[in-house]
């Protein structure tokens, strides 16, 4: 079976080195937090101005002044620090975050990311911190399903949606495969219940099998 959302989050969590400073994007990436070993020393950053963010607040214990970037009430861990938006984004833009995990509409073979705008004529564009995260973190992980609901792949030769940032993605985690972006194209690191040949056939781009 391809990976459930939770199982995919566990795979991403596995690959985050202990002690990393990490930003988890809104939506699917938020699930990664639940799979981080509390003893790993991984510190979560939320771009609305906090380091050492804790889990979501228990019902009834929400504090409207303490939310994550998705505006969900969260909690504070010992060693937390608060700062304003210019300091928070200086932290990102300046390359101080070790990893950020982002969702995606599309990722191209060279690591271009599209995750903020469908390009639909009636869409209201809303970028938030996506572009800052994509260019800022030392390593950008994308977490997504490999195929859209219509069956078309989200990993594409060239993005057709408007870009968030060119050539920014390091690794792509999907329900059926983990892919590494290299200067020479995409390498398959692991597969989940799919044959290599099947995947290669469904993606319209060259792949290299780099499974151990």
């Amino acid at each position: 079976m391809s990976l459930s959302k939770s199982a995919l989050a566990a795979v991403v969590a596995r690959d985050i080195p202990p002690g990393s400073y990490v930003n988890l994007g809104i939506g699917l990436p938020t699930l990664v937090a639940e799979h981080l070993d509390p003893t790993s020393g991984v510190v979560l950053h939320t771009e609305n101005g906090m380091l050492n963010m804790g889990p979501a607040a228990e019902p009834g214990a929400e504090d409207p002044d303490l939310t994550n970037a998705g505006k969900i009430p969260v909690t504070e861990l010992p060693g937390a620090a608060y700062f304003h938006h210019a300091d928070s984004f200086a932290m990102m833009r300046g390359g101080h975050l070790d990893v950020c995990v982002l969702g995606a509409f599309q990722v191209s073979a060279r690591g271009d990311l599209a995750n903020w705008h469908t390009g639909a004529p009636d869409a209201i564009p809303a970028v938030g911190g996506a572009m800052d995260l994509a260019i800022g973190a030392k390593r950008v992980f994308v977490m997504t399903t490999m195929f859209a609901k219509d069956g078309s792949p989200k990993i594409v030769p060239e993005c057709t949606y408007p870009l968030t940032a060119p050539a920014c993605v390091d690794r792509i985690y999907t329900d059926v495969a983990t892919l590494q972006v290299t200067g020479a194209g995409l390498e398959v690191l692991e597969l989940h219940d799919i044959e290599y040949a099947t995947l290669a056939d469904r993606l319209e781009l060259p792949l290299k099998d780099a499974r151990q």
């Binding site: 771009e47 939310t67 938006h85 984004f89 564009p125 800022g136």
Partner: protein, 217 residues
């Protein structure tokens, strides 16, 4: 620095056509009482600079619903509860400038810090850099971004002293300290005004030099 007796006093004199900076990330740090006072004050044809374009039906959303806003400069207008903005936008009744969140913050900081312009790597190679000047520096491409300043800033903080020194609370800090530096008139709503000397000088986030009007709500 004036300690005002009402939010209405704090927004007095706002001119039509003003650029108004509104703090908050969603509702955290949103100066709802000041925005409500601005609705009563009546200024119109406003440009609002804020991270979002209103949530639900209060605060900034109410100002938009009252038809007072010509243009919104923000990073993230579209949310599950941004129906007021969505309706106005789809009806062609409001202008939108989308700015990456970090660039929005840095442009406000530049506005307050007397920086003429700066080169940012954010947005390079995307729709949001189209038409903007770019430059390669040390092998990396940057886009030239200009400061944002307001005529009025409306800010939600936690506590003020009588000199206007401010502290914020948790992630409600967000854009407040930046907007406080970048407007001609800075009005702040707080939960309490405390005596001068009651705030820890090491922990003051916005020094009183930036603050013109404070009101406890």
């Amino acid at each position: 620095m004036i300690v005002c007796s009402s939010p209405d006093e704090a927004v007095e004199g706002t001119a039509d056509g003003s650029v108004v900076l509104v703090s908050g990330f969603g509702m955290a740090g949103m100066p709802v009482d000041l925005v409500d006072a601005l609705i009563r004050q009546g200024a119109t044809d406003l440009t609002v600079v804020s991270n979002n374009a209103g949530n639900g039906d209060t605060g900034l959303a109410a100002l938009l619903a009252a038809g007072r806003v010509r243009k919104v400069v923000c990073s993230f207008p579209r949310q599950s509860d941004s129906w007021v903005f969505d309706g106005l936008f789809r009806a062609g009744q409001i202008e939108l400038e989308v700015v990456p969140q970090g660039t929005l913050a840095e442009r406000l900081r530049a506005g307050g810090a007397g920086i003429g312009a700066f080169y940012s790597p954010t947005g390079v190679g995307t729709l949001l850099a189209e038409g903007k000047e770019t430059r390669e520096i040390n092998g990396r491409e940057y886009v030239l971004e200009y400061p944002i300043r307001g005529d009025l800033a409306l800010i939600g903080a936690h506590r003020a002293d009588r000199m206007g020194n401010l502290v914020y609370r948790k992630t409600a800090r967000n854009f407040g300290p930046l907007m406080a530096t970048a407007a001609e008139t800075v009005a702040v709503q707080v939960a309490a005004v405390v005596d001068t000397g009651d705030l820890d000088p090491e922990a003051v986030v916005t020094p009183g030099i930036y603050v013109d009007r404070v009101v406890a709500v």
